[in-house]
Symmetry: C2
Subunit: 391 residues, 2 copies
């Protein structure tokens, strides 16, 4: 069963085509797996080989190009007719300098009479590397290849009712995982055991809804390692007395994500940790009260920065990003960010992960929320006590 009505996919396609038209793009070749999913529904763990979706007003519906052995995955998860699923044989993978999947893509476009069009490609995305680009260019000498990075990502910004429902489910899932993880953390407990419990909760889901694997594995450093922004658990480490821990997790449902971060201290937290947590929470609360339709992203960041600056703190990195549908390696949507200079204007039903993580000298504190911009403000999709947890 498709996660959305066929009409919702078609509505998305219509909006994408409108954006293409505005940018003078006649054919769009999408390789980002989240964008492929958004357009067609395609959902499989096959994104480590080249694959893509073609959108064009010259076509009656999108075309999905995938590996031969994934045909059934495409037939089973997309809304289009069988004719729009075009598989390539494995030999296109075997000697990528001799015969490449992009040669096959070029041939498909030629066959459809689209080889001499203005073709948009996702130049700056995870799944379109330099070699693929060169091969596609070579395969399409009569085409004009133009950059269409994030064209679809921007369309994904404002979520539909159904998409928000899925993010709510992802939020219920991550809340449960976070609750149990905080419960499980204790002196002498193995870090990997807590991680195992987290994944178990993320996948078991709620009583009604099962979970999916998150696009990024939990970030969950302990002790000094909290000073780094992207540490996993350690394989043999055990939690110790007087240790600081933060956990950045996300539930996933139908590939929709709702990240949540909380910080825990095992023992009596030192003044500086308590103080940092207080400032982060105050900054986060000010951020939440600033967000509403019509406000720009830079204004949101400014409100946060001003708040923490009062206490002598400063955050150099962006403090929020759009979130929703995603595949590995990460759950960001790669469009709007809460950062200086970002002029994007907030609109209802945009969804963000507000990420006020502070990585300081020898320790770090992160307390975050996934939010939705409402008609006149914002609400958190994640619901969890906003505090420094003490164990």
């Amino acid at each position: 069963m498709l996660p959305f009505e066929k009409t919702e996919y078609q509505h998305r396609e219509k909006r994408i085509k409108k954006s293409m038209e505005a940018q003078g793009i006649e054919v769009l070749f999408v390789t980002d797996p989240a964008n492929m999913n958004y357009i067609t529904g395609y959902d499989a763990l096959s994104y480590y080989v080249p694959q893509g979706v073609i959108v064009s007003s010259y076509l009656k519906e999108p075309i999905c190009i995938i590996r031969q052995q994934d045909v059934y995955c495409a037939l089973h998860t997309t809304w289009m007719s069988k004719e729009s699923i075009i598989p390539y044989p494995d030999k296109y993978l075997w000697e990528p300098k001799v015969l490449h999947v992009m040669d096959f893509v070029g041939d498909v476009l030629r066959e459809k009479g689209l080889h001499n069009k203005r073709i948009g490609v996702e130049l700056d995305s995870y799944y379109f590397n330099a070699h693929w680009y060169h091969r596609l260019e070579k395969s399409l000498p009569d085409a004009e290849l133009v950059d269409a990075t994030s064209l679809v990502n921007w369309i994904r910004g404002q979520k539909s009712t159904k998409e928000l429902e899925y993010m709510q489910i992802a939020a219920r899932i991550v809340e449960k995982a976070m609750y149990n993880a905080i419960e499980n953390i204790d002196v002498g407990v193995r870090e990997c055991r807590v991680a195992a419990g987290i994944y178990s909760d993320l996948l078991n889901g709620t009583g009604v809804y099962g979970g999916e694997y998150p696009s990024l594995s939990p970030i969950m450093p302990a002790g000094e390692r909290t000073a780094g922004a992207h540490f996993s658990w350690t394989t043999e480490g055990k939690y110790q007395k007087d240790q600081l821990v933060y956990m950045e997790l996300s539930g996933s449902y139908k590939r929709y994500h709702a990240p949540l971060t909380r910080t825990v201290f095992i023992g009596k937290p030192p003044e500086k940790v308590r103080e940092t947590a207080k400032i982060v929470i105050e900054g986060l609360n000010v951020t939440l009260s600033t967000i509403k339709p019509g406000v720009t992203c830079e204004e949101v960041e400014q409100a946060w920065q001003t708040t923490i600056n009062q206490y002598g703190l400063e955050k150099e990195s962006r403090m929020g990003y759009t979130v929703g549908l995603s595949y590995p390696p990460v759950w960001t949507e790669n469009t709007a960010y809460f950062k200086p200079g970002e002029k994007t204007v907030l609109k209802p039903n945009m969804t963000f992960h507000i990420m006020p993580g502070m990585w300081l000298d020898g320790y770090g504190v992160a307390i975050t929320e996934t939010i939705r911009v409402t008609e006149n403000g914002c609400e958190t999709i994640t619901k969890f006590p906003r505090e420094l947890f003490i164990k």
Copy 2:
């Protein structure tokens, strides 16, 4: 603590430099996270932003370029001196068309006097997209950029004693997960619950060693979906009577992987499933008895193909690939494959995932092993009964 002695990293660097020299590459810029880890030890969940490692005989040791907030991750996980960790500020991420991390990389190379060298880049890898390449090219007008895809991957082929130890641990972990998953599968059990159990086992590890997240989430379709090669579990599905299930899982330890696949039938398997499993196992056994130093990859594939052809079966896709150190999106090493035309000669301590998956009309069977080429043959690293499991 580093997973390897400093001398092992230095030995790797030496071998990489030798290969660079043979290819006339003066500077190597590595962005594949597994290759970065192999050279420096760098291990963090930060691979979704641009980062890289520079190797050159002009440098006393490799340089690691990472995001400012990941400095502590680099200091904590690499063997080099502090001076060789060079962080870039977040502003290089904010407007990738205006200011890009590759501009920063260009500046670092210029500062080191390496801007006019012959520089190898990993053109055809997951983490070096078309835009990065264009920016690096623009940033280094005096350099000659050449393709060095898989240069480091090939060096990684023959494993050291310590690397094999880690793969053995990953194997013990995946065996436990597979054992329990087969135990847990039953009529009416939720697929997501079995998946949760698998992740729990993969991360809890053995009594002694904790596990890490695998580079690819388990592939575990049930019923008709076994006809597709890359399905995950479903969020609400429950296992049913007379259903076929296969599970492709991997343990991970210090990022070393040992994948294993088994097929299960819930009930009395129909003749065609029983027969396919028998053929796959026979083909796998013939493959194992063919593998030894001096044999080429195509000869191995030929032995497999000939065996299954006798029974009227044929496999179009490659039936094995090198495996070891990896990060998402997948655990293949992207070097040698068991496929027609592959002239790579097997050597002792190369490690492969033998992947005789058959995706047929309406069902699929996969029974696989991770193996090591020994001095005079091969041995499986994964140890698990090689049969069709009946529940």
